[in-house]
């Protein structure tokens, strides 16, 4: 088990190395930071001083090594746009995105899995047909449109929920949380639904097809022949056997939710990393973009590791080295 984790982390290192190379390459090829920082009027001496300050006169490998060394320590330099340390900016925004993404994932799982089980069990009931039709809407409507429709309905017409922002937040150390105030929770509802709807429908459809597959297996028939209750069969034996693919997809989707909350955050002016990223792209704020890219890569690598560990927890056949022979 321990050696498995270590080997997985070792495998992740080359991935992170390549991503950092790409992040670093942005400095060289996306816009000219010197021109951006100096603005319109500058002297040649000012320019050279800045180039030296930023280390841009050094050879490529030296620059990359410095970048990598700093990155490992969580140091990504100053934002061109806001002139503040990037790490600080991201740390400030990360809680908003993470809370939004986790809430969206929670909603998607808590509603998507039971709906998938239901539609897998009762394929022809009218409720299943309704769920499937509804899921087509979730899959095919673009996120921004869903967000805008929700705002129109619940903020503009009904006036129940706020249309933008995060509401009041509570500070817990460096973490700012919207979970502890009523306005924070109200502000979270619409963006979380917007972000989670696609995942919800995806998980529902996945669980449904896996359930239909598993319900045809011999061990489910045998469980019925043993007279087990429907509840034990459907939610125990059958659901557990659908979990491996569901964990894979849900894990990748969680990474996706965190990384690509950009659209939702823009629609709801949610003060998270996605909004920070899109504003940084507008201003060619490369240190922020580079740091964001690496952070997202790290998130994906971590989630993949967790997914692999969950496989182990769910499926005993994958626990090698424990076999007791025949």
């Amino acid at each position: 088990m321990f050696s498995f984790i270590v080997s997985r982390i070792l495998q992740a290192l080359p991935v992170m190395f390549v991503v950092s190379l790409i992040s670093f390459a942005m400095f060289a090829y996306v816009g000219d930071p010197v021109a951006i920082m100096l603005g319109q009027d500058f002297t040649e001496a000012q320019r050279e001083a800045l180039v030296r300050d930023l280390g841009l006169d050094q050879p490529f490998f030296v620059q990359f090594a410095t970048f990598l060394g700093n990155a490992v320590q969580g140091e990504f330099g100053l934002s061109y746009r806001l002139s503040r340390p990037v790490a600080e900016l991201i740390a400030e925004r990360a809680p908003a995105t993470l809370e939004l993404a986790l809430t969206a994932a929670f909603i998607a799982l808590m509603i998507g899995v039971p709906m998938g089980v239901y539609t897998g069990l009762y394929r022809n009931s009218w409720l299943s047909r309704f769920f499937l039709t509804f899921s087509l809407v979730g899959v095919s409507l673009p996120t921004f449109l869903i967000g805008i429709l929700l705002i129109l309905t619940f903020s503009v017409w009904l006036g129940w929920l706020p249309s933008f922002g995060r509401g009041d937040v509570t500070r817990l150390g460096w973490w700012s949380s919207g979970f502890f105030t009523w306005s924070g929770i109200k502000a979270l509802i619409l963006p979380a639904i917007t972000l989670g709807l696609f995942q919800l429908t995806l998980i529902m459809r996945l669980v449904r097809s896996e359930m239909m597959e598993v319900l045809r297996t011999d061990y489910i028939k045998f469980a019925r022949a043993r007279g087990l209750s429907n509840r034990a069969i459907n939610f125990g034996h059958a659901l557990k056997n659908t979990l491996v693919p569901v964990i894979t997809i849900a894990g990748l989707q969680l990474g996706g939710i965190i990384a690509f909350a950009i659209v939702t955050e823009t629609v709801f002016q949610w003060p998270g990393m996605g909004l920070l990223f899109i504003q940084s792209v507008g201003a060619a704020d490369i240190p922020v973009m580079a740091a964001y890219l690496m952070l997202i890569a790290l998130v994906f690598v971590t989630i993949n590791l967790i997914v692999d560990l969950l496989y182990y927890a769910v499926d005993p056949r994958l626990r090698v080295g424990r076999g007791k022979g025949h």
Partner: protein, 322 residues
């Protein structure tokens, strides 16, 4: 009184091109503690009969006619929940392939315990002790250590022993065993069958043993039913049917088994193949392949009638009957 009575059972599959009759007019009894062997070619309806008895016909298959009675009580028309309480508790089932009948994600102990706690008034701890006892009974070595193993940690033969323990653990009165040894190595088959036979005898459990292995039937069954194209062709004491089959189809079936005690030049074979359910011939379903066919066979369908010590659905034995 018979433990199980099947009366004029008819199973249909409604399809777009019309209704398929998978079983027609199947009738037999099983006495308490008796082993009834059911033989026949693939698709003859052996497994279907078993599935109908445990109430687990694959949809859209349904019982269109007839009755199934367990200790005199009709069970073919029970609501799902009532039938569920009978499955496992009154009628156990053993399936063909032990590699796929156990849930791969649960330990064998958990599967045994949940079966017992579903049907018997015992605590999980008591059930666990009993589970170890059952594993010992079916011949799993070091049962106490192995109870928390997963199915994939056992060989095929061992897994079928676990399946048998699962079928027996709530002490049902009847076991429907659908080809319990077909998927096993030949060397293991005999052991497993012997163990199953001994356990059924000790517990007084009756058994419906579906197989196409005549050796297993001769070894284990008290009576045997030969099925052909969804009907029973012949039913009688196993000794009579094996040695002196009356129905020409059973004769063909028995003749195709190589005898061990003498050399034969050529094994008998039955020409042709069993008709598909969509094209069952008029009259006796076997008439196009039957060496003793005569005019009546192609016109009228024979019911089971007395044929010496067995009962056969064949017009050859029509003398003295109505």
């Amino acid at each position: 009184m018979s433990l199980l009575q099947v009366k004029n059972l008819r199973v249909e599959f409604p399809t777009r091109r019309g209704t398929l009759v998978a079983l027609d007019d199947v009738s037999f009894d099983i006495a308490p503690g008796e082993v009834l062997g059911v033989v026949g070619e693939s698709g003859a309806g052996k497994s279907m009969t078993g599935a109908a008895i445990i109430g687990l016909l694959e949809p859209p298959g349904r019982i269109a006619k007839g009755e199934i009675l367990l200790e005199g009580r009709r069970i073919d028309n029970l609501p799902y929940e009532q039938m569920r309480r009978i499955r496992g508790r009154e009628i156990g089932a053993i399936f063909q392939d032990p590699l796929t009948t156990l849930n791969p994600l649960y330990t064998i102990g958990r599967q045994l315990v949940e079966t017992m706690t579903t049907h018997l008034p015992i605590t999980p701890a008591e059930a666990r002790e009993k589970a170890i006892g059952w594993l010992e009974l079916v011949g799993i070595p070091a049962a106490r250590e192995r109870i928390d193993s997963y199915p994939h940690e056992f060989s095929g033969g061992m897994r079928q022993r676990v399946v048998i323990a699962l079928a027996l653990c709530a002490e049902p009165k009847l076991i429907v065993a659908d080809e319990p040894t077909t998927a096993l190595d030949v060397s293991i088959q005999a052991q497993v069958i012997a163990m199953l036979k001994t356990l059924a005898r000790e517990k007084g459990t009756a058994m419906m043993l579906v197989t196409h292995d005549m050796g297993v039937i001769a070894e284990t069954a008290d009576r045997v039913a030969v099925m052909y194209a969804g009907r029973i062709a012949e039913i009688g004491p196993v000794r009579e049917v094996v040695r002196q089959a009356r129905h020409p189809y059973s004769q063909g079936l028995m003749g195709s088994i190589p005898p061990l005690d003498r050399r034969v030049e050529r094994l008998q074979q039955i020409d042709g193949a069993m008709p598909r359910l969509t094209a069952i011939p008029k009259g006796c379903a076997y008439n196009p392949r039957c060496p003793k066919v005569f005019s009546r066979c192609a016109v009228e369908r024979p019911e089971l009638m007395d044929a010496g010590t067995t009962r056969a659905a064949c017009w050859l034995y029509a003398e003295g009957q109505s």
